[in-house]
């Protein structure tokens, strides 16, 4: 029963995408591990790792789209939540190194040893437990988003002002994490991870498993976001985006709704960051760079904001392009990237997916009108 009502709420499109993601999660590792390298369908480990990374980016873009596309909050600081989730996971992975660090210190990570730290700072306690780290992966970004959003939305900071202070937030965090005194490894960040949950991070099997985990997590996030945006809550988010004061005068506590969406989004971003770190093997303050957060905005815009598939598609497309261009035309890829953003904003304001669905609804409308002309029925509204 529940699944049936889920199905009707989500619509077939979302179900297809989720199913596809789950399918990828199951099949890609098989193609990678089970088939010999010579087999034409074999997926090389390199691509598994690469696409695992893209899927993390896709999740981050999805998270951003929930607040930007649906609620009109253009966050230029979503990279911060991603990075915080990453740091939480990184701290767990650091603690897992144990005595295998270069100085063989039982508790202190290497960077603390050679900077003469005496003992583990209090905020590193507990990160030797996976469950605790996993909790922090959502709790820390969630908490930051809650505190930040609580103040910002209550004070009705909107539009450009909000965007700029989210940028200030991630910039401040960037500077803070650069400080070696903070105890997060400074500029070098956390690195040299050995294993996770007892299995080596360097084996193909682990990489495939992480890929699957990421695909599943993306699928679940997609499901969660679909449920949210298709509920009355989701309609309200759009309502707030389009006419905030109307919603307020209807009696909705706009700041609470924004806050809820913002926190959920930050948590998804945190999970994406946590999955990203073991796959790339490093987390450092560079992830907080304002430019990174702007890039996320751009993936979302290219793919199409206000659709859930758009940001995923945009993240895959832009990052795929980046991987290709940085190898094939290293000197010119910034021209390509920059040009893409200009062209998309000018000619595809709704993004690629947005344009596709616009074409589709236009086609449907024509079909519908023809049908209604024939049957005399009322035209159906566009989705």
């Amino acid at each position: 029963m529940i699944s049936k009502s889920l199905f009707t709420k989500l619509g077939p499109q979302s179900i297809w995408i989720v199913a596809l993601l789950f399918l990828i999660a199951a099949v890609v590792p098989l193609l990678n591990l089970a088939l010999p390298e010579s087999h034409p369908l074999h997926v090389p480990s390199y691509l598994v790792g690469l696409f695992g990374k893209y899927l993390c980016y896709a999740m981050l873009a999805l998270a951003l789209d929930l607040v930007w596309g649906y609620c009109g909050i253009l966050s230029l600081g979503h990279g911060a939540f991603f990075a915080l989730g990453g740091y939480a996971m990184g701290m767990y992975l650091m603690r897992q190194i144990g005595t295998r660090g270069v100085y063989a210190h039982p508790t202190l990570p290497d960077f603390m040893v050679f900077l003469n730290w005496e003992e583990l700072p209090w905020f590193w306690l507990g990160f030797d437990q996976f469950w605790f780290a996993a909790l922090m992966v959502v709790a820390v970004p969630g908490l930051l988003a809650f505190v930040f959003g609580w103040f910002a939305f209550r004070s009705r900071v909107t539009g450009v002002y909000l965007s700029i202070i989210t940028q200030a937030m991630t910039y401040a965090l960037l500077l803070a994490f650069f400080r070696n005194d903070m105890g997060f490894g400074g500029n070098n960040g956390l690195t040299d991870f050995k294993d996770m949950l007892g299995v080596s991070l360097q084996s193909d099997g682990t990489r495939a498993a992480l890929f699957s985990a990421t695909a599943v997590a993306l699928g679940l996030s997609f499901l969660l976001c679909s449920l949210i945006v298709n509920s009355k809550f989701g309609k309200l988010l759009v309502a707030i985006r389009d006419a905030e004061s109307r919603a307020r005068f209807l009696g909705y506590r706009v700041e609470h709704f924004k806050l809820f969406a913002f926190v959920v989004s930050a948590m998804i971003a945190g999970v994406a960051g946590a999955l990203y770190v073991p796959q790339v093997g490093i987390i450092n303050p560079g992830e907080f760079a304002p430019a990174n957060s702007i890039e996320v905005v751009i993936w979302t815009a290219v793919g199409g904001r206000g659709t859930l598939f758009g940001p995923i598609f945009g993240a895959l497309l832009v990052n795929g392009g980046k991987s290709y261009f940085t190898a094939a035309y290293p000197e010119y890829w910034l021209f390509a990237l920059g040009g893409l953003f200009v062209l998309v904003t000018l000619f595809l304001p709704k993004g690629i997916v947005g344009v596709l669905s616009q074409l589709r609804s236009a086609a449907q409308k024509q079909l519908g009108q023809r049908a209604s002309a024939e049957t005399g029925a009322k035209p159906e509204a566009a989705e």
């Binding site: 002002y161 700029i164 920059g338 953003f341």
Partner: protein
Amino acid sequence: MKRFIRHVALLLAFALCAVPAAQADEELTHLISALANGKLKEMPAKISALEKAGNSKIVPLFEALSAGTLFYRKADKAVFITRSSADGITLMAPLTLQEQGVTTKKSLKKIKVNNKLRRQLKTAIANLTLLSPDVSLRLSAAKELFKSSDPAVLPLLEEALHQESDASVRQAMQESYAAMTLRTQHASQQHRLDAIETLKAMGNQQALSVLTGFVASASEPEERDAATSVIASINKRLARWSVAQNVWYGLSLGSVLLLAAIGLAITFGVMGVINMAHGEMVMIGAYTTFMVQEVIRNSFPGLFDYSLAFALPLAFLASGAVGFAMERGIIRFLYGRPLETLLATWGVSLMLQQAVRTVFGPTNKEVGNPDWMSGAFELGAMTLTANRIWILAFAFVVFAVLLVVLRRTQFGLEVRAVTQNRRMAASMGIRTPWIDALTFALGSGIAGMAGVALSQISNVSPNLGQLYIIDSFMVVVFGGVGNLWGTFVGAMTLGVANKFLEPYAGAVLAKILTLVFIILFIQKKPRGLFALKGRAVDL
């Protein structure tokens, strides 16, 4: 060139009263040619010998050695003072300064010098010029001797003091005499107490350093107490001045922020375009300065001091033209969609950066400071550096001019009309697209002019713009979008706040705290410092 003329003047002056001492000259020549061989470690002894044997004739040689323009010819190890000129290296005889022809760099080898030698040379030059007829030479010699701790100079200084008629030189000599007295402990107690008084009157960092050194080694309790109390009073004075110094640092940082942000206050503040390529407009301005200086260096070296004056209008035009093209090509399609201008301009910013990297290469470019932009002067116990003063003044002028343009000119009126009510303005016959493009070009052009100023204190590289873009946005938002005075006050407030935090929190933490402060401030005043009020704002 100036230095050269000074040398010649000096030489003539001495030639008049010179005793024909061929023997002494011969010895000198011999000592000079000894400079051409041997190691750096043997140099101090050779220079002492030269100093003893020589008189002020040797000064040009010392100065050349110190400046690294003393060479010897590889072929015959003859030593020359050199001057590079258009057709190669001009050689000059080290004592007579007569030109000895032109040669190539390859045939010469430089006589090496290091800091220790340079210090020795400076003192030597000071000793040799302390009795010079030229007042300015005597003054610099007297000042230089302040650092000396060679007791042998004391009698010379006494003699000089005896003869000195110029008040300022006399004072400098007295101060140096006092410093040397305390350092060498070679005088009577009364002398030393007098010296402490003299230094008290100086009351600056230099005096403090002499006194601290003295206290550490003083044997008489009376003297030590006197010195200690003077140290305390100087410290108190310096502490008071340091507040003023911090305000100055803050204002000068504020003026840099203002310069960086002021163009953005127009493109973003007035027009509502989230111009992420703003930093690149600044960069274009800085590169224009570089190109202007290149041309001047290669073709009109005499004009170097005016290079910034040429660069300013050109930078305004260059950045303004790029801004104009951007507005016509991209931004005009995006009015009413401010957040999307962010995306497009970010793309433009990436392309401009890469374009500059392709054309000029990724490394820093050298932009020189004209003479009037270098150096510093003292105001009480404060040091005001020339470049900061000029930049502060420049920022204020740009701000004032912009204010006048927007408030008092027809163009300004039309700009304000268009930004307030585009349709109404259009129906009154204002060519709104034209005004849009010009306004954007104006904002960009001003950013370009800021680039000229910033090239004087910062790197000129493709990354230049990225350094300033975030700070610029913070300033404009903090001050209140759409309000030029807000940008002005915002920049100055942030500058001063930052500089007062820095001594306590360190540079990194100060910056973080400033950002947190901005975030909290926006909560309190969601529309910045100088917000527009009323019901028209957000419905």
